[in-house]
């Protein structure tokens, strides 16, 4: 009886699962078409070889590696942000965590696939298991991504269980699936306790794993001798960039779903305000790292490093470089530090700029270094081919499709956490507050 009342209260959150509009199908069909086109292009590449791409002699890595770094970077939105917010008991996290975790899951799958797309011999991928050399950063990478994927899927799944149980109790569509996935969760005290404990353990575990993932990805580059890559700050630089782009992607996803599924009552201005501030902080941090990285290069003035530096600042990649600075620094700072512009559309613009800018940053890191190798007599240019562009489009389509699919199966906002928040937040927060506020009585006694 009581339960029924609450379900009605959060009916908006259930609605996407049970009601599908026509435009949903149209969009899905269009995205599937894009995805299939990309898949066909990949099959072509598989048959004819990597020559189908625009990569060439010194520039041996291109769009695929850029997308790999970019998508894995986005994945930090999720788990890391949701884990940090949970850990710090930020109450406003409740409607956000689920979407963040879903981003991680989907994007990790897409990003993790990219190195395989990039291989000249994907048919030999199992050699990595048979004869893998642990000394190679690529192996570290594979290990940490697999660990991250495992941890973050479980971390997505565990907080989903109570919601699946709610869906199961409603009956109807996919009843069998929900019954299996809910693991007989009934919401008893003991079950709640165990679940909470599991979530707590995971969220602590997930943070170091997430940081290690992007550090290791940066090591793929910084372990080499290439000018522009061989840098000690690449680890933290990549992590900062990853969280930066992750928050931006999260904001975009939230704004889109808020509009489409009418979540206005759950995702309020304040959520975007907080996330916007976080984005601004990350933008400043990103600028700090970028500045430090390039200033040391410039001051050292090593010839091979300088060729890459000049290539980025005034040479062939200058338009991309300055566009990146514009997107990653100027736009977010202008839009997010100004009260008048820090509206939801303003935050959306800043976030879109950041996502574009961070993609450009990956481009700026990968290509110019390869195009200007140490031996100064060989230089290269890189123009992506249709294959690479359509695979980037397919990856983006896969991301949106993944989200659309998820929204038809599970609630995009954690319903039980919202309920819990409604029932207990106020009490819990005031208890917590009382714990660290100095007591009045004590002071009075001293005075007397």
């Amino acid at each position: 009886m009581d339960d029924h009342h609450y379900i009605d209260e959060d009916e908006v959150l259930f609605r996407p699962i049970y009601q599908t509009s026509k435009s949903f199908y149209v969009l899905a069909a269009a995205l599937i078409a894009v995805f299939l086109f990309g898949a066909a292009m990949y099959v072509r590449q598989f048959i004819f070889g990597l020559g189908e791409t625009g990569m060439n002699e010194p520039v041996t890595w291109g769009f695929y590696i850029i997308s790999f770094v970019f998508f894995i970077g986005i994945s930090h939105a999720g788990t890391l942000i949701s884990a940090i917010l949970r850990l710090s008991k930020a109450e406003w996290r409740r409607p956000i965590t689920r979407m963040a975790e879903v981003i991680t899951g989907i994007v990790l799958m897409i990003g993790g696939l990219h190195p395989i797309i990039d291989l000249g011999r994907p048919d030999r991928i199992l050699h990595i298991f048979e004869r893998g050399r642990l000394q190679s950063p690529l192996l570290w990478d594979m290990t940490s991504i697999t660990a991250y994927f495992t941890a973050s899927t479980i971390y997505l799944y565990l907080p989903l269980i109570p919601d699946i149980a709610l869906l199961r109790d409603r009956g109807g569509k996919f009843h069998k699936l929900y019954e299996i996935l809910s693991w007989g969760y009934q919401g008893t005290e003991r079950q709640k306790h165990v679940l909470e404990k599991a979530i707590n353990i995971l969220m602590v575990m997930v943070i170091p794993i997430a940081i290690s993932v992007h550090t290791v990805i940066s090591w793929i580059f910084s372990m080499t001798l290439q000018p522009g890559w061989h840098s000690t700050i690449f680890g933290p630089y990549f992590v900062v960039g990853a969280i930066f782009s992750g928050i931006a992607a999260l904001i975009i996803v939230m704004i889109v779903f808020r509009k489409v599924f009418h979540f206005e009552d759950y995702l309020k201005k304040i959520h975007f305000n907080y996330l916007g501030t976080l984005l601004l902080v990350m933008s400043l941090l990103w600028f700090y790292f970028t500045f430090a990285e390039y200033l040391t290069t410039f001051y050292g003035h090593e010839p091979s490093e300088m060729r890459v530096f000049l290539y980025k600042f005034v040479g062939g990649y200058a338009p991309f470089f300055w566009l990146m600075v514009f997107c990653n620094f100027i736009v977010p700072v202008v839009f997010l530090s100004n009260k008048k512009l820090k509206t939801i559309p303003g935050i959306l613009i800043a976030s879109i700029a950041v996502v574009i800018g961070m993609w450009l940053e990956r481009l700026i890191i990968v290509v110019p270094s390869l195009a200007n190798p140490r031996l100064p007599f060989i230089t290269g240019i890189y123009v992506p081919s249709l294959t690479e562009i359509s695979l980037l489009a397919a990856a983006t389509a896969a991301f949106i499709l993944g989200f659309m699919g998820f929204s038809k199966l599970f609630p995009l906002i954690s319903i039980w956490e919202i309920k819990e928040g409604r029932e207990e937040s106020v009490r819990m927060v005031s208890e917590r507050l009382n714990e660290y506020l100095p007591s009045k009585g004590h002071i009075r006694k001293e005075i007397v």
């Binding site: 070889g49 060439n56 000249g120 030999r124 050699h127 950063p137 080499t224 031996l375």
Partner: protein, 229 residues
């Protein structure tokens, strides 16, 4: 165990490029189409690098140096390979196992001499080339990385021959194709550790230098030049 190395005397080299051609034919290095070559996918195990120009316009002359895999003693390429498809043999030659390579091209990204090349397409040679196909060298499949091996197949053959004739391997039994073909005898090849070999004598010349010495990759290909770089 010998330690094979090479010395290229740039003062003797007349930049004819015969070594480049000989290498290409000896090792069945793929000849790519014109469009691909323009995209920067031409495949060379040994190539002429345009290093500088001499003289004033209009009497300029390009200075090329023949460059190949430096067969580093501390190769940065093998460090990063995820599957041990490239490794250093006991005799110092950095070899490549084509059936093992997964084509990640990480080694290419980490070779400071840009010495490795990738098979972007399936090897499709012009028909005219069939006549000069070298049966001692396997044709690489698409999607793997390759590079100069100091004509390792020649070493194999020389060893077999010496064994059949029941004698030790002599210095002149094994030289790579580029050394053999060089008309001005500018390239020396042999065991660097043998103090009597021609190559180790040439190596102790005062004109000796290696490319990018500062990186600590310890190349086993040395250059001699009276003009400093």
């Amino acid at each position: 165990m010998p330690r094979y190395g090479m010395v290229i005397d740039l003062d003797k080299c007349n930049q004819c490029g015969a070594c480049v051609t000989a290498c290409k034919l000896e090792n069945n290095v793929q000849i790519v189409s014109k469009e691909n070559a323009e995209m920067g996918r031409a495949m060379f195990w040994m190539k002429m690098l345009d290093t500088s120009y001499e003289g004033n316009y209009p009497d300029v002359r390009a200075v090329n140096i023949p460059a190949l895999c430096m067969q580093c003693d501390e190769p940065s390429c093998i460090k990063v390979c995820p599957v041990r498809a490239t490794f250093k043999r006991d005799d110092g030659i950095v070899a490549q196992i084509y059936p093992q390579c997964i084509g990640c091209r990480y080694c290419m990204a980490n070779c400071p001499y840009t010495a490795k090349v990738f098979n972007w397409f399936k090897d499709e040679q012009p028909v005219e080339n069939e006549k000069c196909h070298n049966i001692d060298v396997s044709v690489r499949p698409k999607g793997v990385v390759e590079k100069c091996t100091f004509c390792i197949h020649r070493l194999q053959i020389a060893k077999e021959k010496a064994k059949a004739e029941k004698r030790e391997l002599q210095e002149d039994d094994y030289v790579p194709a580029c050394v053999e073909v060089c008309a001005s005898k500018a390239i020396y090849f042999g065991d660097l550790d043998d103090p009597h070999s021609k190559v180790s004598k040439a190596m102790h010349d005062y004109r000796k230098f290696t490319l990018q010495e500062e990186l600590g990759t310890k190349p086993k290909v040395y250059y001699l030049s009276a003009k400093s770089e």
